[in-house]
Assembly symmetry: C3
Homo-oligomer: 339 residues x 3
Amino acid sequence: MADPRFFASSGPQRLADIAAAAGAAFEGDGERRFSGVAPLQAAGPDDVSFLDNRRYAPLLAETKAGAVVLLKAFADQVPAGAVALVATQPYLGFARVAALLHPPVRPVPGIHPSAVVAPDAVVGAGTEIGPGVVIGAGARIGAGCILQPQVTVGPGVEIGDGCRLLAHSSVSHAVLGRGVVLHPGARIGQEGFGFAPTPDGRFETMPQLGRVLLGDFTEVGANSCIDRGSQGDTVLGPGCRLDNLVQIGHNVQMGRGCVIVGQAGIAGSTTLGDFVTIAAQAGVAGHVTLGSQARVGAQAGVMHDVPAKQDVIGSPSMPVREFWRAMSRWRKLVGGNDG
Amino acid sequence: MADPRFFASSGPQRLADIAAAAGAAFEGDGERRFSGVAPLQAAGPDDVSFLDNRRYAPLLAETKAGAVVLLKAFADQVPAGAVALVATQPYLGFARVAALLHPPVRPVPGIHPSAVVAPDAVVGAGTEIGPGVVIGAGARIGAGCILQPQVTVGPGVEIGDGCRLLAHSSVSHAVLGRGVVLHPGARIGQEGFGFAPTPDGRFETMPQLGRVLLGDFTEVGANSCIDRGSQGDTVLGPGCRLDNLVQIGHNVQMGRGCVIVGQAGIAGSTTLGDFVTIAAQAGVAGHVTLGSQARVGAQAGVMHDVPAKQDVIGSPSMPVREFWRAMSRWRKLVGGNDG
Amino acid sequence: MADPRFFASSGPQRLADIAAAAGAAFEGDGERRFSGVAPLQAAGPDDVSFLDNRRYAPLLAETKAGAVVLLKAFADQVPAGAVALVATQPYLGFARVAALLHPPVRPVPGIHPSAVVAPDAVVGAGTEIGPGVVIGAGARIGAGCILQPQVTVGPGVEIGDGCRLLAHSSVSHAVLGRGVVLHPGARIGQEGFGFAPTPDGRFETMPQLGRVLLGDFTEVGANSCIDRGSQGDTVLGPGCRLDNLVQIGHNVQMGRGCVIVGQAGIAGSTTLGDFVTIAAQAGVAGHVTLGSQARVGAQAGVMHDVPAKQDVIGSPSMPVREFWRAMSRWRKLVGGNDG
């Protein structure tokens, strides 16, 4: 199904290798070959599919897929002729099968002649520097990175091994760990929003003298922005995932594995523990603390600290159970139904 | 009124030609000439203006405009000396007059020497490729396009005739129809937001193996983002209009003529019919369906399917009449007025 | 504390000079030297710190800072060995000390060979044009500006002295005053969102024939967008500050000193007086007027005019006191607490 203009294929792969990638058990001929991945409703006999969500179980009986990665509980519903690939984590297993059949793009080592790399910048072995890339004085780029066209890396920036900086992303005043991904147009390290009013009614910029530190394997979505710290640093722990158009203010501190969904924003000097989730279009005020595994619902507005493992929603936000109970009472009082 | 540094002028045009462009009837001298367009309150005797909204009718008596495109109902209120250009769609008619007097920029065919175009990429006749543009291997650009400075087009991308890709926009993993416009900084075709948690607390990316398909004459606003599909495609039908800073998640399907206003977002795998309108800063959850001509109000949060022609508002959203009735009751109960 | 890879240092400075910069009075040895700035809890004896907010007063007794800019009321709480720099505006004073110790980047005059500057464009004395910058025909760039890598300036654009256009920002159809700052990826002057439906169900663009005018010292955040006017201009008065990912529609008029926080949006043809504040993720509808010093709370939705000095919040918005009174009553009726 994957358009060969855009996605490489590793050619047909043996079922045994696919099962190994998926961490799955199967019965049958390990030499059978599969060439692609597809959703249950679109897959053909050469495709591997998956079932992860009980809601889609009815599609299983109808699928034409040659193999399906799924939980043991669904294995006996696989149609005749299809292979059940029984895994404890079908979605993860399927992701690994997809990566086996369609391997990610590898860097093509070298520096494009149109790139402008400062003489004292360091570029690691096996790194690809695309057309129009600009790398400032004293910057250090790790090994095995891809810098797509038009990326700019400011003076002194440090970037770990295996990072991917996609088209038009920019980084300044920042230190990036290994395997960091900046999606197109991401903005890292610009000045935070800080200024002092003057007696004559102007604003003077508070010099923003901190940095952005991005932990290993953190990803930042397209056109998202992470401002550098004002004096301390803005810090994202390892493995954070930011979607598109997200705003992170100066001095924000995040633990590991935080997930920030599209168009959400976190104001300055706010602290997140580990594995905090902020859903789409939510906002978190400045100078508050969200404990580990706290979850903030879509479009919520958080103005106060949230304890660990607490789920909140609403603007202003409240614990999620209270919110829905209040909504239910509210609707009894004043009317209104879902729509 | 249009600043000649920024807008070309076709020189004074005959009233007869202007009326023809507007699809308007008039009385008087078809040889009279007009050179510009302007709002009622700013127009002079050489300008054409328009009246489209009853609210602005009081400005008509005072206008100095030489001609006014308007509905027949207002024609007798045009001041002496001004020409009434009577049209059934004054706003559309005026748009065409404006385009007649200030023709849009045409491509200046050729490839700027600083552009980096892959040897096997195809660039159509009459297309303008600006400074710093990067076009990847196997990409196909149609005829009569404009690619402004710093645009990047990824490998294999297909772009129809007459498209305009404005400064700093980027496209990968995508097929664009004819007459598509990407405003500055628009991001098309990057990876969607999909990953699987691992047993040791990391996230692994689900390979995003789909594409973005943009229908003919669709326009995408500045710094807006459209992620490619995860396995199927993200599809926008013909004639959709997206404003600035809009987020479209992977696998979203839109019909024709949908309008998505600034800073709105649509989460993954959601389906819109034809002529759906999503107002500013609204959000639509993933995996829901909005019927044709449904309208979502500003800042609404849609979590469930919306039937065709239904208007919804609020977060969580409800039908618009229920919302305002509930707001009215709510205000009687707890107070609060518009402000 | 400031990382020397990213921030210049003016070397140790005399206390007398620091006090003069801060507009502060002090007692003791004016020859004592200080080399950096830091928050109270991180500062050492060579650092200057500040206290601006009563909430942080407890940190004062514990600080290791060598000097602290603060109000007279706190001066006697400065620990032994530290200098009290007594100022009437400690935050402003500290900003000036920080700028003295870490002077902002100055332009390095010259045009990088990879830049593409139209032959008839004018570039002022002492201006730095970075790699990959593109400047269109007839554009005029003032003296002492910095244009970072990949900036594009469209034909005819006029930019005053001392402006900073940071990486990847783009400007077209615009006139910028002195000292304007565009942060990375800011989009200025693109087409507004205007089109007319046709009888056969298409949309035709209303030609956008106005400009963007940015007053002196206005700053626009990363990836923010300001559309040009449709016929009149989009105008921001002097000294406005826009944070990241802000959307300003066509024909918006702002007075001086307005502050628009991250991810807020203002729809077309709306007018703001002077010193209006719009907090994060708020939205203001089109064609409304906000009086001078009005303040709009975070995530508010403003659909009507707001009088001068009025504070509003909520979606739809209401005066802030009514909102909190209504919220309090609402919570008594239906439950729910902060979270």
